[in-house]
């Protein structure tokens, strides 16, 4: 009987994951379509058309949101039922209950506070932290799960006000600069104060709490670079920004946190590419950056023993199975054992993998939930990243566009490094899987990223409402219209956004 329920819940989770991913990608295709501006329309007519288009957008969004949220919660419930079957204790029931309450209530509370927070990122958050809770409870119900639940709730509650700040913030320049510099200082601080974990200086311990500054510095770094590129991208500025990025990367290399160094490096390259795309010969900058990266990689390979070791293990882990290749071969055993459909919760042996709760959580998921589930998880995360990029594409302010893109890159590279490492596609870098892996610093980082993106979504909604108002009221001086100024353009193209800016421009003048 238990076996039957276990198997059914496994397939329910798989089905939820697959549907979730499909809906997630479908929702990416939706964008708001503004009605065509017909000069003869009366004010009344325009208002009606605008309301219709608003209703359509609202309806589509609502449908995707309800479906995805429902699937995420069902997936979580199926996983929890499976946990109860195998490990029925008061603690686990209590925690699952608290978690269920949190996962359903948190997005609702966020939407109550921010009525304009219309984004499917809320569902992604519920889906991933739900999966994370289930797999961490399975790995160690007493050690990881309670702390993870506690941290999810505490950090989530503490950071709820971030979108508000962003909405209110008139000028992000000074806060971004201050935070960026503080971040860099804390990063340097780790070299001197940090405690060694697996041969690398990663964290600072304070009264029992240990925090890994590189996780939070990812955020301040992205903001700092976006601040530098917000209005200039000439050679001098690129030179300066590159210097700032190089200091970050070098400090991380010195503290032997190569995974984080790689994340910072790629994020900087992507932001540099985006910031200099309109500059003449701007494409040379990221190319030069890639060149430096290649030189740096070879240098790291020659200089550091542990880099060489990881590369040799990556090329062929089997001869070193009882030594340096132990981790990755255990991970491969787990993934292979799970096969496509997975063993089912508690029926695999993911606990054989060292560090399974952090760097190798993906292998544990692949073993017990199955290959198909893990593939759809990768795809769902891809949809999340594309959604982040789309948020960034619909914004008007260069600073926030760059921030959004930077966060999407951080997330993407981090997932690529950990998943790619676990399946031995690339050498291991010791990076955690965002939202799912155990760890407070990683959670804090992801919460910050999501909260700031929520802020950006609200900002975009505000902008859109302005566009709508202008459409209805007839807009601005005729002389400012340009041939690209077509309000009926799709929402995620920037053309429509001009209305706001030229409007403000005219006010300014």
């Amino acid at each position: 009987m238990l076996y039957l329920i276990g198997t059914i819940t496994k397939y329910v989770m798989l089905l939820c994951m697959v549907l979730y991913t499909i809906i997630s990608f479908r929702a990416l295709l939706y964008h708001r379509i503004f009605p065509e501006r017909v000069p003869t329309d009366s004010l009344e007519e325009r208002r009606r058309k605008m309301e219709d288009s608003d209703d359509l957008a609202e309806e589509r969004w609502e449908r995707s949101y309800v479906c995805q949220m429902g699937l995420a919660i069902i997936c979580f419930l199926a996983g929890s039922v499976n946990l109860f079957l195998n490990h029925l204790t008061a603690g686990i029931i209590l925690r699952s209950g608290v978690m269920l309450l949190f996962l359903t209530a948190y997005p609702m509370i966020m939407q109550l506070i921010y009525p304009r927070l219309k984004t499917l990122l809320l569902c992604d958050f519920v889906m991933y932290s739900g999966i994370g809770y289930v797999i961490l409870s399975r790995l160690s119900p007493e050690k990881y799960a309670p702390k993870q639940v506690l941290m999810l709730i505490v950090i989530g509650a503490a950071l709820m006000w971030i979108p508000k700040i962003i909405e209110k913030l008139k000028d992000a320049k000074i806060p971004a600069a201050i935070l960026g510099i503080l971040g860099l200082i804390s990063l340097i601080g780790v070299i001197f104060l940090g405690s060694k974990v697996y041969g690398a200086n990663l964290s600072i311990s304070l009264k029992g709490f240990s925090i890994q500054p590189s996780e939070v510095v990812k955020i301040t770094f992205v903001m700092l670079i976006a601040m530098l590129f917000r209005n200039r991208s000439d050679f001098k500025r690129v030179f300066f920004a590159t210097g700032v990025a190089a200091v970050h990367v070098l400090v991380l290399v010195l503290s032997k946190d190569l995974g984080a160094a790689l994340i910072f490096f790629v994020t900087y390259l992507v932001m540099l590419y985006q910031a200099t795309i309109h500059v003449k010969k701007g494409r040379l900058y990221p190319l030069a950056g890639l060149g430096c990266g290649a030189v740096g990689a070879v240098g790291a390979f020659l200089l550091f023993d542990h880099v060489r070791q990881r590369v040799t293990v990556w090329l062929d882990p089997w001869p070193k199975i009882n030594d340096t290749g132990y981790q990755i071969t255990q991970s491969l055993f787990a993934i292979g054992n799970g096969s496509l459909l997975g063993t089912g919760l508690y029926r695999g042996r993911p606990t054989d993998i060292p560090l399974v709760s952090k760097d190798f959580i993906f292998a544990a998921i692949a073993e017990e939930f199955g290959g198909i589930f893990s593939i759809f998880l990768i795809l769902a995360i891809l949809a999340t990243i594309l959604r982040m990029i789309r948020i960034s594409a619909t914004l008007q302010t260069v600073f926030y566009r760059l921030v959004g893109l930077g966060f999407a890159t951080v997330y993407a590279i981090q997932v690529f490094l950990t998943v790619g490492g676990d399946i031995n596609m690339i050498p291991l870098t010791g990076v955690t899987l965002p939202w799912i892996s155990y760890g407070g610093s990683s959670l804090l980082c992801m919460y910050l990223i999501f909260m700031i993106l929520y802020g950006l979504v609200i900002m975009r909604e505000n902008e859109e409402i302005k566009i709508g108002e202008e459409y209805v009221s007839g807009g601005r001086p005729e002389g400012l219209r340009t041939k690209t100024d077509r309000p009926e353009q799709k929402k995620n193209k920037t053309g429509n956004g001009q209305g706001v800016q030229s409007g403000s421009g005219s006010r300014r003048s």
Partner: protein
Amino acid sequence: MSKADPAQGEAKSSAPKGSGSRKSLFLEQETRDSRLESQNRSLYFLAGGFSCLFMGMVIFLLIFHMGKGDAIQNNPYNLRVRNQSANVVRGSILTSDGVVIAESNWNGENEIRSYPGKNVYAHVAGYLSMGNSGAEKLCSYYLLQSHSGIEEKMKNEWLGEKMPGDSAVLSIDSGLQELSYELLGENRGAIVAVEPSTGRILAMVSKPDFDPNELDQLMSETAKKEDGEKESFLVNRVTNGMYPPGSTFKILTSVAYIRMHPGYQDEVIYHCDGVFQTEDGPIRCAGGTIHGDIRLSGGFGMSCNGIYAEIGKEVDPRDFRTLAEGFGFNNVLTDEFPVSVSSFPLANDADDFEKMQTAFGQGRTLVTPLQEAMIAATVANGGVMMKPRYFDKVLSPSGKEVISFESEEYGRPISAWEAKWMTEMMKGCVNAGTGTEAAVEGIQVAGKTGSAQYGNGDETHAVFVGFAPADDPKIAVCVYVEEGGSGGKVAAPIASKLFEEYLKN
């Protein structure tokens, strides 16, 4: 709008000062538009880049699952295999005709592994204690899987019982295996039979042997013995015995010679007077026989050492080594089960004496009996060498086939024409040479005898390699009797009986 408005950025630097006028505002607008446009295009490009990265992971993962995901599981470091024994009763091992050679019995508390085949299948079945060996190791992962039906799984889950494991079917033929065991008698040595077209091992006997049921007891007894005798019965001589090939190596030497003389029609005549003089001493034919004027085929059939010594001087060691390595010398024959690497150490600058010694199979060349059988099987299979294997398929507890393993080609060390040539020569050896005792009535046998000298004395190991029927080979064998004496008198008759048993039943 905030001061960080992009309009103030690039636009300002490019637009003329005094942007208050309508004209300049218009310009500013244009510049900013093109900037945002290009920025959005680059965003789509980046989104495409991330998508490629993630699709790369998905494809990599899919390939992993389709490819080696299962194959890597059978590894001693994978505790999943051992862990399975908590849920699954280890399955049985069967011969191809269904004789059980290893099974597990559940007595309510413990699982007892027994080997009904006893000594006969000792090295085939292997053992589980002290590190696995044999089929117990080869099939370990599959024996602990359970492909029983869903209703059976439910029932066992409900009752809290262990699942019955899948059983492994080997390619071993019970009749041939038992006969081989019997024929080798009290001798030390090895017998291996292979199906030439597939590389499936049909029989594998190694002596001294042991009873796997009493292994623990045997081990404690041997612990008390002198060092020289320790544990040698555990060695599977078929796969891990390293022997001088003796005259059977002349198969390779002949191929090397034919290859050197394209279109060779057996025209060269050699005169043998029993002793071939060299600077380092005389080379004699076995038993001091004087063969007189003979051709290559005759020299092969009668196993004349002189003619091969002559050939050995002529053959370029480089070509010789390439040929030998094509058959698997200095290489791994298969990575599925442990086989010692047969060695052919002839160096490019070897002196004539070593070249001559190597040519008729004395030298420093060492082979495993399995390697010898594979040489015969390759000739039999028209020059195509198959990978040796003895694990055929996996059956579910209800007897349904779960996995069936395919044969793989190892390589093509000799051409079809060379294989045909060698078949003729080997037929000659059995019909009118040293191997007459390998003949079977009504079946044309092809083979080669060998009497491999060991140590410094005149004593020899008796060897026979061959296959039958010569025109449509179904079985290739290698019989290696340690200290057996003459290959033609001791090993060939055993091969004859094996051919008869396998082909007539």
